[in-house]
Symmetry: C2
Subunit: 192 residues, 2 copies
């Protein structure tokens, strides 16, 4: 038998993720990555793969974490309406909480248009997220807490769309109050 891997891959992936998060795919060099991951170049290539493979693992990890977190939070509320309001308010808070961009959105606009492997992964992730949101929206509609003149799916997409817009606005103007206001308008709009 021989030596076995001495580092925790998930841990290293998370460190790499933070670099991609901050700088984006193209602006991140292998040097940046090995520095942040505290891993050897060879170990990186041997155990994880090249830059693109590492990136795929990062966005996978990013989504899994985000999805787990949101599911956990939602499970705390018995009312679908309350769960939605909290989900939206949380997102608005999250957007203004970090000045770096959002890895997901950055990836969609920077990489996805020209990289179908990334696009497929992001598209799948997005669908999973929207399906989840849709199920809560449906519950709210069934409970009569929400206007159901539009389908649950459309409403779910509508909500997710807003998040991207908020991040854009926050990157440009860095005004937390405006983002909070936007989230309130959204909540008002979908529940009237």
């Amino acid at each position: 038998m021989a030596r076995c891997v001495e580092f925790n891959e998930v841990e290293k992936i998370e460190k790499a993720m933070n670099v991609f998060w901050e700088k984006g795919y193209n602006a991140t060099s292998i040097q940046d990555l090995v520095d942040a991951m505290q891993i050897n170049r060879s170990s990186l290539y041997n155990t994880i793969g090249d830059k693109h493979q590492l990136f795929m693992k990062c966005i996978g990890n990013y989504f899994d974490n985000a999805m787990m977190e949101v599911k956990e939070k939602v499970s705390k509320y018995s009312s679908a309406k309350e769960a939605l309001i909290n989900l939206i308010t949380d997102k608005a808070g999250w957007i203004v909480s970090c000045d770096k961009g959002c890895l997901g959105m950055k990836t969609i606009f920077e990489i996805a248009p020209d990289d179908c492997q990334v696009r497929n992964q992001m598209s799948k992730n997005n669908e999973v997220y929207i399906d989840f949101l849709k199920s809560i929206v449906q519950k709210a509609m069934d409970a009569g807490e929400m206007d159901d003149s539009e389908s649950a799916e459309i409403m779910a997409e509508y909500i997710v769309n807003s998040f991207t817009g908020w991040k854009q606005a926050y990157i440009l103007h860095q005004n937390p109050i405006k983002i909070k206001k936007m989230s309130e308008v959204l909540i008002k709009n979908i529940f009237k």
Copy 2:
């Protein structure tokens, strides 16, 4: 006296803009640019400047064109409500009309967070656009064509936010019908 510049700068800037549009800032090399612009390396550096300066000129040109176009279109309608509906419908059509991303949005997510020169320019552009939209929204409100329980500015931001979300959705799922539907929901929401 000596020789004078033999190429039309604006024309060259436009060609460069298309490259940045397609590939984004970081993925575009000077080689890509001189190839597309059909200009010499030295001429580029002597008359326009380095990559970053060229990029700044490109996003300036991009915004000026977009702004001119939208103003021209809006001027055709005497009703503010009609103008807004057309502006929104147009944007939805534009989003699904080209498969490459949107230079503006790409720049905001890829470059703006880490490049304050770019961020300031984009932020200024965005403000100008929103101010313009706000003035139309205000007209629609004054004419009683639009619900005025929210300020014109908030409504203008709300509309612009949606555009970014649509582009994201289209990059991921390439479903024109969904984008059209989203624009209809927006129109329904802001005019009820």
